[in-house]
Amino acid sequence: MIELVWLIPVFPFIGFLINGLFGRNFPEKVIGWIGALSVGASFVVALGIFLELLGMPAAQRSVQKIVFTWILSGDLNVPIGFLVDPLSMVMLLVVTGVGCLIHIYSIGYMHGELGFRRFFAYLNLFVFNMLILVAANNFLLMFVGWEGVGLCSYLLIGYYYEKQSAADAGKKAFVVNRVGDFGFLIGMFLIFVTFGSLNYLDVFPAAQEKLTQGGLMVTLITLLLFVGATGKSAQIPLYTWLPDAMEGPTPVSALIHAATMVTAGVYMVSRCSVFYAMAPVSMTTVAVIGGATALFAATMGITQFDIKRVLAYSTISQLGYMFMACGVGAFASGIFHLMTHAFFKALLFLSAGSVMHAMSGELDMRKMGALSKKIPITCTVYWFGTLAIAGIVPFAGFFSKDEILFFALVRNPAFWVLGAVAAVMTSFYMFRSLYMTFYGESRVDHETAHHVHESPPLMTVPLMVLAALSLVGGFVGVPIFEGWHRFGDFLAPVFAPAKAILEHGHHAEHHSVTMEVVLMAVSVGIAVLGWLFARWMYVTNPSASDKAVEKFGSVHTLVYNKYWMDEIYDALFVNSIVNFSKLLWKYFDEGIIDAIVNGVGSVTRGIGELLRWLQTGLVKDYAYSILLGVLVVIGYLVLK
């Protein structure tokens, strides 16, 4: 079965080709099912491989299949192949499994949309690229997938391109991600310089031989890779694109901007766990950024009224948790949370989609309320998702989040505090969204109220499956009892080298079971606290929220406007890049000058004043430039 690993990405690609090139006259149902079944087929293959992998001894669960040699020339050898090991296996299952469910859901959700075929073609292309990303056996192929998922992401964010905000959001995602990709590319080149190869199986085992523990090179590589990860996984400072990405259709938000693509950064960092283990500075950076993002995004989640934006900020926050886990050396916990998060966040987004479906596209929670009776299934599954993300026993999120908090405490209590505070907030804003949407008084327009209806089975069945997974998904990683943490044991071989490095010199610290139990109780307590607070504010005492706004007026405004982060970013980076080159290369109207002057400052202005005369269109100036070049070249050669 492992031989067939190449089939996994091939199926969605075939789906893409069929729908993209020939699907013009197919009926919707055919297009949709081609899309869903192609991913489903991949899931079946992945499942088969998974079972086979389980049957193998733990130490041998890492199989590389070279499909063909892409580049073989001189000292350059880039074989294209797939690496099947527990880590990639988890990712493959999550991507195909959740992906398949979301595809099925989309058949119902996108029914009647104008670009139905385009949507499924892009979605399949996305799955293909994502599978390439996670199954690749070398950095280069991973980069292929990395760019590919990015492309699909931009295209799908801008899916409703008639809407200016959607097109802008697509562009924004693109621009921000490019910043991250610089890091990835340069990091990749440094790896190539150091190891002469990009293949995981050549690079990681040789890490300790070619790099020095805590050395400059390994720190540089890991930090650069992490820059890439912050872009793709929406961490501080490159997170601004993700909330805007909610302009895309909801299934896209669920699949790409919650469950799979944005976790690519976490996957990449975990994949390079050996490198990170060797670079303590980078580890700390990852943990700090992750923790800070978890908290920062959670505070912004509290104030949003757009249900999808709440979920978007919660995604950023949860991704922060995952990075914090990696940063404190608990890579397996990060991946564990990645998986459970994929379940419950996909669930939440899809149920939000279901709400939208019922509400004729309304997203503002202030215009909802008391929907629990009208769309009971959606309401129930939303409960499941909320309980899971809040970390209430025994839902999936509890196990993974608790584990991260535990390791954070072991490493440094400060991280635990960050995580715990964020957890309170998470619980609060999620229950807030739950109550605002489904309970309290109805604030729905009369117009809309008439049409409120439960979604068709095509949508609710995937929801129920995901709800079940959110409930039981955590039981693969039960702590305390020896051997019950199946998930951790499964992943252990992948992270063993990193663990060995991290524990080198330290004794594996033993923690009492009591402490673990206490911590668990605390984290559940935290979650319940947030829950109760939300309940008090939005159900028991609805006017409290308004009072709170009054009381913390200025703070609330600040937070509500997302700390004006977007504006600051635009001013600092995006505009200055574009305007800088405009200044250099174009006469521009008076209006733009002001904008540039603000952004770039007097030094560049001086240079710009000199350089703007360059491309004058006059032959004599061009000749002058040539002559100047000649003089410089000759001068250099003569004086040297």
């Binding site: 073989l72 295209l155 490019r178």
Partner: protein
């Protein structure tokens, strides 16, 4: 009786075939009343194919001909092939263009063939005189081609600018050649190599070398000798712009590399830093300036400047890997850019009325295949895998890293990441925007479709299966060392 040197017409047969085809087209055009353009195109394509056939034996050769003036080796073979590919594709993309606008300009093909023949002499030269003659044959033909659009002011202006600056840079090149001649006593590459190897290099020779370098840098459009490029590319007919950015650039690079590696390698320490600087400036400026362009031809012009910068990295990297990377890169670039300019010519419609980037809005809706093809060409230009452009950049960058030029590669990676902005802008326009007015239907011709198809297959095929082509490139640079 003067001993007559060996005359190896077989060796220069590809160029001769092209010349002959040119003359035939010239005469045919005079005597055919109607459909001169179509006939000319057919004859040109036939000439290109025959020349390609005549070119094959060169691959196995490694010798000089005509008293050591001409090199017949794998390097010549490779570039001859590249020139023929670009000439052939350009003929295909031009046909519609020339009939569309009611031009009956079969001379276009004559000049194209002559220019290609000139390039072939240039790449096979073993003497600076041949480089010069080839260079000028090609340049003069291109000057006329650039200005061939009778009613376009821009076309005339472009021709004028190119001619004046081209002649200016030729003069600089020649002066350099004269100084080298004075130092080395001969301009044959072996003699020059001997002179540089001897180690007694005079100041005058250095100055000469610098000026020759400038002459080449002008032709490949390296900063600061690039300023003609945007104007000329904007004004010239779109298919020809493609040819200039690919064929002319390849020929210029071929001669550049041949001259500097075959005859001036011992002085490498002196020229390598200059080229380092040129490469860095070219990449930065080309990419920065491209970001703010609104005209797609101008944007692609700056992009082609930027690509010259990447290619120069290959020269800096040196050894065998650097030039080999350049050869592969040029091959990839040939398919990519000719495809892109083919699309530009097609979308430009009659009289190049639609050459702004905004004119690509909504193309994905009206012509999904064309939009997909253009996207792939642009991805390849941006160096996004799995296209040929990516492999090209990757090989050149890794050659440079192996040679220790890490900072240059960092600049390269950063600028090429920045370049994605402007390439993607076009993709975004095609896929994510709607045109304000419904544009006229596109007029596909079979020739254009064939050309785009070949270019597309080329980009993808040598991108996905690059190994053979990389090895071919490595094999082709062997004769230089």
């Amino acid at each position: 009786m003067i001993p007559i040197p060996e005359v190896n017409l077989g060796g220069i047969l590809p160029a001769l075939v092209l010349c002959l085809a040119g003359l035939v087209v010239m005469m045919l055009g005079l005597f055919i009343r109607r459909g001169a353009v179509a006939t000319a195109a057919v004859v040109s394509i036939a000439g290109v194919l025959i020349a390609a056939a005549a070119n094959t034996p060169l691959r196995m050769m490694d010798k000089q001909a005509f008293a050591g003036l001409i090199n017949l080796d794998a390097y010549t073979w490779f570039f001859n092939l590249l020139i023929l590919i670009s000439a052939g594709l350009t003929v295909l993309t031009s046909v519609r263009y020339l009939t569309d606008d009611g031009l009956d300009m079969y001379e276009y093909f004559v000049l194209l063939l002559f220019a290609s023949a000139g390039m072939m002499f240039m790449v096979s030269a073993n003497h600076l005189l041949i480089v010069f003659v080839g260079l000028e044959t090609l340049s003069i033909a291109i000057y006329v081609l650039v200005g061939i659009l009778p009613s376009s002011k821009k076309s005339k202006e472009a021709a004028l600018k190119y001619l004046l600056l081209g002649a200016f840079s030729s003069a600089v090149f020649l002066y350099g050649a004269a100084l080298l001649y004075g130092s080395a006593g001969s301009l044959g590459f072996p003699e020059l190599a001997k002179y540089f190897k001897a180690g007694q290099i005079s100041r005058m020779a250095y100055v000469g070398m610098g000026m020759v370098l400038v002459g080449f840098a002008f032709k490949v459009a390296a900063v600061p000798f690039h300023m003609w490029t945007p104007d000329v590319y904007e004004g010239a007919p779109a298919p020809l712009t493609g040819f200039m950015s690919v064929g002319v650039k390849a020929a210029a690079f071929a001669a550049f590399v041949r001259v500097f590696f075959q005859s001036m390698l011992p002085a490498q320490m002196n020229w390598i830093e200059i080229i380092w600087l040129l490469a860095a400036l070219t990449m930065v400026l080309g990419n920065l300036a491209a970001i703010v362009q609104d005209n797609i031809k101008r944007m692609l012009a700056y992009s082609s400047i930027a690509h010259a910068g990447y290619l120069l990295i290959g020269m800096v990297a040196g050894k065998e890997a650097g030039p080999a990377g350049m050869l592969y890169y040029l091959l990839a670039y040939t398919f990519t850019n000719l495809g892109a300019f083919g699309v530009v010519a097609l979308v430009g419609r009659k009289g190049e009325a639609n050459v702004m980037i905004d004119d690509y809005r909504g193309l994905a809706k009206t012509n999904p295949f064309l939009a997909l093809a253009m996207s792939i060409f642009l991805f390849s230009l941006a160096g996004i895998p799995p296209t040929a452009g990516f492999v090209g950049k990757f090989t050149i960058f890794s050659a440079a890293i192996n040679a220790g030029y890490i900072w240059l590669v960092v600049i390269g990676v950063l600028t090429s990441a920045a370049s994605v902005f402007y390439y993607f802008r076009v993709v975004m326009k095609m896929y994510m925007e709607v045109p304000e007015t419904q544009p006229a239907e596109l007029q596909f011709s079979p020739a254009m479709l064939l050309a785009l198809g070949i270019a597309l297959v080329g980009v993808l095929y040598i991108g996905v299966f690059p190994t053979n082509y990389l090895n071919l490139a490595a094999l082709s640079v062997k004769p230089l060392f």
